[in-house]
């Protein structure tokens, strides 16, 4: 019979390995979803101003939860204004 420490180490190794596998599977799923969004965006570009055809994505409806419109957020791209102290901070949550 293996000593308790050895059993604990084996269990911890197995848990770590399982965690890595689960994380890889989730990342794979997330990247597949992202790839779908990329394809949808290319389709929209390739078909002029026509919106991308409604499609059932493999994981979820994308439009409601991630920005695909280029103008959903914007930064000023060439300010000639003198730098001022910032007006706000995002901090860390």
């Amino acid at each position: 019979m293996a000593p308790v420490d050895a059993r604990d180490q084996t269990r911890r190794r197995q848990e770590r390995r399982l965690g890595r596998l689960r994380r890889r599977a989730m990342l794979g799923s997330a990247l597949a979803f992202a790839a779908f969004l990329g394809l949808a965006a290319q389709h929209a570009v390739g078909s002029g101003k026509r919106a991308a055809a409604p499609t059932t994505p493999p994981v979820a409806r994308p439009a409601a939860y991630f920005d695909q419109q280029g103008d959903a957020f914007a930064f000023d791209d060439g300010s000639s204004e003198p730098p001022l102290p910032p007006v706000a901070q995002t901090n860390v949550s």
Binding site: G28, P62, Y65, A72, F75, E81, L84, T90, N91, V92
Partner: protein, 311 residues
């Protein structure tokens, strides 16, 4: 150390505390009092419904009755549906059903009340329980899987910021900034300026980005951290392991069209790490700034380059 923040001409700066964060508002001076009251009231209502630390909140009652259908009001329904959609959209990297893991790690009370804790008991189980959640929108009923608990902290705060801008817009206000901890969104532009200059992240001498429209959210392990036994903990749990994410990152800031989306992006990018996170966010069309554990900054997508740093 808090950085010096400017107040743009014609605006008034107001602050209050809600949802475990400092809430900072920039509002037209003539509307400041009424608008602050409206936003403060909104945050109070959202916290009353969605706090994990108030036993009487709708969320606490839902968690307490895990395994059975529970009636939910519109705020809880919206937040649950948004969180589940985010979980589906990210393949489970964003997981709102890690409430029990956070409790196991000692985050079972408001962050300010956490001291040094004894070692954890029980094994991590990881995430995925969101797949078994049931939401019946028509009946206004939610079922959390038995032996699971929801934590809507981050996404709830982002959604409260978005909802605040809607309230301000409904009051006829065309220029405003709402910031709650790491989550910030803007409406219009400050008078006479081309952008809102926002200091990004926890470093008081960090980059200052000129945000014209949209939202920013920063997630990181530097602030909400504590000790449990001999182990350092933080609140961003990797659903793959059930433990605080060890991804080689210090913080991630995401720019998106809404605070909800920025918050989701920042959370999943932090968990995904510096190798896969940028690819994930770039394909999702958001902009981001990653700060690695050693302090390297990596700009992704439409994140502005060559920006000034706060003095």
């Amino acid at each position: 150390m808090s950085p010096e923040l400017a107040v743009p001409r014609g605006l008034s700066s107001r602050r209050f505390r809600a949802m475990g964060s400092d809430v900072h508002l920039l509002l037209p001076a003539r509307h400041a009092s009424d608008a602050t009251r409206a936003v403060e009231s909104l945050f109070a209502e959202w916290e009353e419904v969605l706090s994990r630390f108030r036993p009487e909140s709708e969320l606490s009652r839902l968690n307490a009755r895990a395994g059975t259908p529970v009636r939910a009001g519109p705020i809880l329904l919206d937040a649950v549906e948004a969180a589940l959609a985010a979980a589906r959209a990210t393949g489970g990297l964003f997981d709102p059903t890690l409430g029990r893991e956070l409790v196991r790690l000692g985050y079972d009370r408001s962050f300010e009340e956490i001291g040094d804790l004894p070692s954890a008991t029980g094994r991590p189980r990881g995430g995925g329980a969101w797949r078994a959640m049931v939401v019946d929108r028509a009946a206004g009923v939610v079922t959390v899987p038995a032996d699971s608990a929801l934590d809507l902290g981050g996404i709830a705060k982002g959604m409260a910021v978005d909802a605040s801008l809607e309230v301000l817009r409904s009051l006829g206000i065309e220029t405003a900034l709402v910031s709650a901890g790491g989550d910030l969104a803007v409406l219009g532009l400050p008078p006479g300026r081309r952008a809102w200059d926002v200091l990004v992240g926890g470093d008081p001498h960090g980059p200052v980005v000129p945000l014209v429209r949209g939202a920013l959210a920063t997630s990181g392990s530097a602030r909400r951290r504590w000790r449990q036994g001999n182990v350092a903990r933080h609140h961003l749990v990797d659903p793959g392991t059930g433990e605080p994410a060890v991804s080689g990152l210090r913080e991630v800031t995401v720019a998106a069209g809404s605070c909800r989306m920025a918050e989701i992006g920042a959370t999943v990018a932090f968990i995904a790490g510096p190798r896969l996170g940028p690819a994930l966010l770039e394909r999702l069309g958001v902009g981001a700034l990653f700060v690695t554990a050693p302090g390297e900054r990596i700009a992704v997508g439409r994140w502005p380059r060559d920006v000034p740093y706060a003095a």
